[in-house]
Amino acid sequence: MTDRGPQKNDPIRAARQAQRLKKRYRKERRFRAFGMSAVLLATGILAFLMTSIVYTSIPAFTHHNLTLDVTIIAEEVDILRDDQGLVTNVDANWLGFVRTALRDSFPEVTSRRDKRDLYKLLSIGAPDAVRDAVQADPNLIGQTIQVRLPLSDDIDLVMKGLIDRNLPETDRLVSDRELAWLDKFIAEQRVSENFAIQLFANGDSREPEMAGLKGALMGSLLTMLVTLLISFPLGVLAAVYLQEMAPKNRLTQIIEVNINNLAAVPSIVFGLLGLAVFISFFQLPRSAPLVGGMVLALMTLPTIIIATRASLASVPPSIRQAAMGVGASRLQVIMHHVLPLAMPGILTGTIIGLAQAAGETAPLLMIGMMAFIVDTPTDVTSKATVLPAQIYMWANNPERAFVARTSAGIVVLLSFLLLVNGLAIYFRKRFEKRW
């Protein structure tokens, strides 16, 4: 007591204390700087990644078309009519019409080889454009109509400046003669850049300009639907039982540990399981969203169970006591009080699990969902692929135009995930708003 008083006013001691204090502040500033640079670095990398992907994807959202005068020769069109005499279908050699139109634009091209090169200006999807126009309006039969025909992928790249015209001809995918033809069309103002509706309206294709995401989008949607319908009720039920009702014994402990382990199992293992059990044993169809959804549901289950248990456990015990205190049964306590309060957390866990599943390719590889499938799936048993698998397959294609298509696929996948997350946040808020 007595020797403490004077020490307090000791100037040396005070100076030392001030120094220590300064050092402490310096330390804090340093820590803050480290933290901030970590955040900056992370967001910087993310921003760089996003901009480069979006930038690369931009060309894929438009396509150049050639407007040609195509004559639909009435004698060459087969018209199918129903009982009332209404046109149900039209069929013809559409390719022939397109080629005639091209030849008519350049009468000087006569040799077979030259003609073949001339035809290559247009995409193989060009005849479809003519067919679609005539099918939409059968009155056009016998007339000469202006149709917007997609140019081939390489010509499109020239138009977008992605193939350099100034390179020597041997280093270029497009010959000088093709460029000359193109220039004539440009001079006639027949070439226009339009939104690439194919990207969303078509299924997969070997031709980049015709390849679209519709099939993969639908496949992803159907697969996610199956995953959600299986994993959500199953996961929530399992979690509620384990957390609220199960006796705490050796068996439930083992189950608990295994559920946690399951969350760490590499996803490809689930694919192998799906192949062995669902396809080989239960004889479910290959490449189908049904099986894909089931496999991804297995993968999502532990995530949902763990998230649900955590949010159930975080419901204050006082609420349970209150409900029990007025004579609510165990089930009533859970259904009326615990589950509604845990719902936002459960939904978040489910969305995280689903988002993970939506970006998954490895397990789907095993059950044949990484496949070239042109048709858009109509139900959960038809053959389908999913967005990430589609992106991977496009990335492996050699054609230059697939580079942009691949990035566009990634942009669509990310938007899809953003949309799902947005929906989740919306539903969460709705649930929370009730109180």
Binding site: Q321, G325, W435
Partner: protein
């Protein structure tokens, strides 16, 4: 049977409780009379809450909690196989230390009990029940114009009265209160104490409290617990003026606990 005997609502004999290997209650024999307030006092950790929870079997859900002995309410053994726990808890309501309204509207808080027990046959009847309960809990004046706002938006004292209203809405005949005023200021406490006094005519009330003054003010009978033993019990007036036991005297006069 004497008239004294007839008035006994709850009779506990040889009640023991173990949490795992640790024994929390050692053979409690206590008779609790109807239409009286019985106060349970004693130092922290002596088993008051444990004993209270035995009376409506809230201990059942606690892992590793084992009950021994016998508790009769109106002569009926509540730990016998025939008793339905849910029905028992409707008869023996409980108010907790910290106000714990459901995160629902004031109306739904009070209506919850009657709803799950099917006590009201119509919306009007339910409305009436909610109003009566809120009136009895002395909360009606303050909340009648905002019945459909959240119960968590009330002050602490109002919340506790809401919890009391919720408890009496299912029309129990016993109300257990575990330190109902410990989270409240003196004014809110006074309101609740008044309320307890009013409720006494219709209910049997058992209240745990750490406040000697409160025990003296609201209770007719007092039981003093120490380390899981029931040391002494009797009329509140006598316990506070002339305790038979040294420990009781020391506790009441503030020397221990």
């Amino acid at each position: 049977m004497s008239s004294q005997e007839e008035n006994i609502k709850i009779r506990t004999s040889g009640v023991t409780v173990h949490y795992g290997a640790a024994q929390a209650l050692h053979g409690i024999d206590l008779d609790i009379r109807a239409n009286e307030v019985t106060a349970l006092i004693g130092p922290s950790g002596c088993g008051k809450s444990t004993f209270l929870r035995c009376i409506n079997r809230m201990n059942d859900v606690i892992e590793d909690c084992h009950f021994g002995g016998k508790i009769e309410i109106d002569g009926e053994d509540i730990y016998s196989g025939e008793i339905d726990v849910v029905e028992l808890r409707a008869r023996v309501g409980m108010v907790f230390q910290k106000p714990n309204p459901f995160p629902k509207s004031i109306y739904d808080n009070v209506a919850y009990g009657p709803r799950i027990h099917g006590l009201a046959s119509s919306k009007d009847e339910l409305d009436h029940m909610v109003e009566t309960s809120l009136r009895r809990a002395g909360l009606w004046q303050e909340v009648h114009d905002r019945l459909h706002t959240s119960g968590s938006g009330l002050s602490g004292g109002q919340q506790q009265r809401l919890c009391i209203a919720r408890t009496i809405a299912v029309d129990p005949n016993v109300v257990l209160m575990d330190e109902p005023c410990s989270a409240l200021d003196p004014i809110a406490t006074a309101i609740i104490e008044e309320l307890i006094e009013e409720l006494r005519s219709q209910y049997t009330i058992v209240i745990v409290t750490h406040s000697m003054q409160q025990a003296a003010r609201v209770s007719q009978r007092t039981a003093y617990f120490h380390l899981g033993h029931l040391v002494e019990h009797g009329d509140t007036d006598r316990i506070f003026t002339n305790p038979a036991n040294k420990q009781t005297e020391a506790y009441i006069s503030g020397k221990i606990g």
